[in-house]
Amino acid sequence: MIRTLQEVFNRAVENLYFQVTTYLPPLLVAILILLVAYALARSIRWLLLHAFKGLAADRFLEESGLSSLFARAGRLRAAALLATFVYWAIFVIAALTALNVFDTKLTSQIVEGTVFLFPKLLTAGAILLAGVWLGHYFGRSVLLWACNEELPRPRLLASLTRTVIVFVAVVVAADALNFARNVFLASFIILTGAAALAASLAFGLGGRRAFEDYLERRSHSRAETGKSFFQHL
């Protein structure tokens, strides 16, 4: 009995020893990698923030409207953007390296998946960024048009425009990622179809008369404008 217990105990110790000798060094190495990466990422971020002025890139951010898109006060700086990007890039690379140290099937799959997914993520990110920018741009165009034409609820029209464009960008980005492709496509088609049908019904049944009145009022007011406003030039 004692002998059996001793054998079990020895096996447990051996297992523990095996597990400790197998996993502890990689774990320590992984922690070390993460610590070094953290220190490196922070140092590089500090360096980029203090040494890199990025004047040309700042000008691009301001001229392209990206600055005012993401920072309300328009103070998005290229150096800060780059520093944050590099910081997280170093951290992700370090995390993948740390996972790779364990050399197991699961960690290999995670690393492989992430590496393969990365270009797609970048593409989807670019698509989303372009979509948000376009949505913002066309939303503003609609807001200005509606406001200058004295249409009712210009902000609502602008928000609708922005939402539609961003939604299209999300569908395209999801398609690029192979993520819930069918769900997004189906919902896009359903929503577009429903919007078109609703607009047709509203226009055909309820809005026709209102639209006629609106056009009549508008042409009348324009004729008056020509008569009584200004020779602006």
Binding site: E62, E63, S64, G65, S68, G74, R140, S141, L143, L144, W145, C147, N148, E150, P154, R155, R222, A223, T225, G226, K227, S228, F229, F230, Q231, H232, L233
Partner: protein, 446 residues
């Protein structure tokens, strides 16, 4: 030959140039559905050439934007009234009348381009352009626009009219004060629409590459004036009396008109920043013609509509204005948007800051250009409403004095613009004290 103006002409115009061979004077008339008025303009041009320039070969060129009425037929078929009725001598040289449709972007600028190409191809010494909707044009206009070029060596003759105090509000509130402050020359009607131009200046216009921009549309007038004053061409004005013309197309979009004119001013500011940043103050420009008072068409105004458009802008567009305006300027504008009782007053120094800050923002953020320009419409309407309230009981000369004060505010605020443009710390821009005596605006030369 590339760059040869004749090679750019439509076939129909090229064949006319070949058959006429040459001309001393070209009178251009851009048109679009002006059948009602263009006959009178052609008569006046014809009579002007016959009466004042009988020894010169003259060509009247109608550059048409695809009129669907009888505009072109009237130009080509109308007969010159008996010379003795008009008390003019029979021209020693013929006056040709031509009418062509222009190609390219529809707009006044594209029409002007064809006229200038014709003038250069014909080797004209002087070219004048007059609007086709004028009701007040007389043969003397042709003399006043052409003679300074032919006999006095001027390159650019700008019009000088008497206009109703509420007529030409883009000119009075933005274009005249800004152009004067920038380039230092007091051209009172920089976007008047009727001009005289020398051969050298015609060549300079045609050599430029920006014909396909806003210049092709409403931007053409300020583009012509700015090039003349910024590039050192000799500039003068001619007093033409009253400008009475058909009401603008009621469908014409004010926002588009403002956008194209002001957009052209701002674009030219970028091109000529090296010129205007070194100039300060302003001086009179020679004025030809006998000045007299004239009766003017009344102009009715709709103040409430303008104020409502501005208040609506305050509610909807403050986020876009914030891209261009400094925080204190924006706060002052939004404060004005909360004023519902009279007096509704947008003071000069605030208006100067608005225009300078927009000009500077458009230079810094070209992608936002269109949005910023379009968002200027409610602010412009606020300025017009303020001007109307303020000048309601004023006489024409008092209103002119008021415009002069605005111009001086623009001139005094120029260091603010220069600092803003260069991204330097901004000087304080305080309201100027009103003047007690009207300044001498122009030197009249009859």
């Amino acid at each position: 030959m590339p760059g040869d103006p004749a090679s750019l002409l439509p076939a129909e115009a090229l064949s006319a140039v070949t058959s006429i061979r040459g001309a001393d004077i070209v009178i251009g008339i851009p048109s679009y559905n002006n059948a009602r008025t263009i006959g009178h303009v052609v008569y006046a041009a014809h009579a002007g050439l016959a009466k004042y320039f009988p020894q010169f070969t003259g060509v009247i060129v109608n550059s048409d934007g695809g009129s669907r009425d009888e505009t072109r037929d009237i130009v080509l078929s109308s007969r010159f009234p008996d010379a003795h009725v008009l008390m003019v001598s029979t021209p020693l040289k013929p006056v040709h009348r031509l009418s062509f449709p222009y190609h390219g972007i529809p707009g006044k600028g594209s029409a002007f381009r064809l006229i200038f190409q014709m003038a250069e191809s014909l080797g004209a010494k002087a070219c004048a352009v007059v609007d086709s909707d004028l009701r007040s044009i007389t043969p003397e206009w042709i003399e006043l626009l052409i003679r300074p070029v032919l006999h006095n060596g001027y390159d650019f003759v700008a019009p000088y009219y008497h206009r109703h105090k509420y007529d030409g509000t883009i000119t009075n509130s933005i274009v005249y004060p800004l152009t004067r402050a920038l380039y230092g020359q007091r051209v009172r009607q920089p976007i008047g629409g009727d001009f005289g131009v020398s051969r050298d200046l015609v060549s300079r216009y045609l050599s430029r590459q920006d014909w396909e921009t806003d210049v092709a549309r409403y931007g053409i007038d300020i583009w012509m004036t700015t090039i003349a004053v910024a590039e050192g061409f000799r500039v003068c004005q001619s007093f033409l009396g009253a400008k009475l013309h058909d009401a603008k197309d009621p469908g014409a979009d004010l926002s588009a008109m403002l956008h194209q004119v002001v957009g052209s001013v701002f674009a030219l500011m970028q091109e000529y920043s090296g010129v205007w940043s070194t100039r300060s103050g302003s001086h009179d420009v020679d004025l030809f013609g006998f000045r007299y008072d004239v009766g003017l068409d009344p102009v009715e105004v709709n103040l409430d509509r303008m104020k409502n458009a501005f208040r609506n802008g305050c509610e909807q567009l403050s986020e876009i204005w914030a891209i261009a305006l400094q925080p204190d300027t924006l706060a002052a504008i939004l404060q004005l948007g909360r004023v519902f009782s009279s007096p509704f007053h947008l003071e000069d120094s605030l208006w100067v800051r608005v225009i300078f800050e927009f000009a500077s923002a458009i230079q810094r953020k070209p992608i936002e250009r269109m949005h910023l320009l379009k968002s200027l419409t409610p602010l412009y309407l606020a300025r017009v409403a303020s001007f109307v309230e303020e000048t309601r009981t004023m006489t024409a000369s008092e209103v002119e004095q008021r415009i002069e004060e605005l111009c001086l505010s623009f001139e005094e605020g120029k260091p603010y613009l220069t600092a803003l443009w260069a991204g330097k710390p901004l000087p304080h821009l305080s309201p100027r004290a009103p003047q007690s005596e009207p300044p001498g605006l122009e030197v009249s030369k009859s």
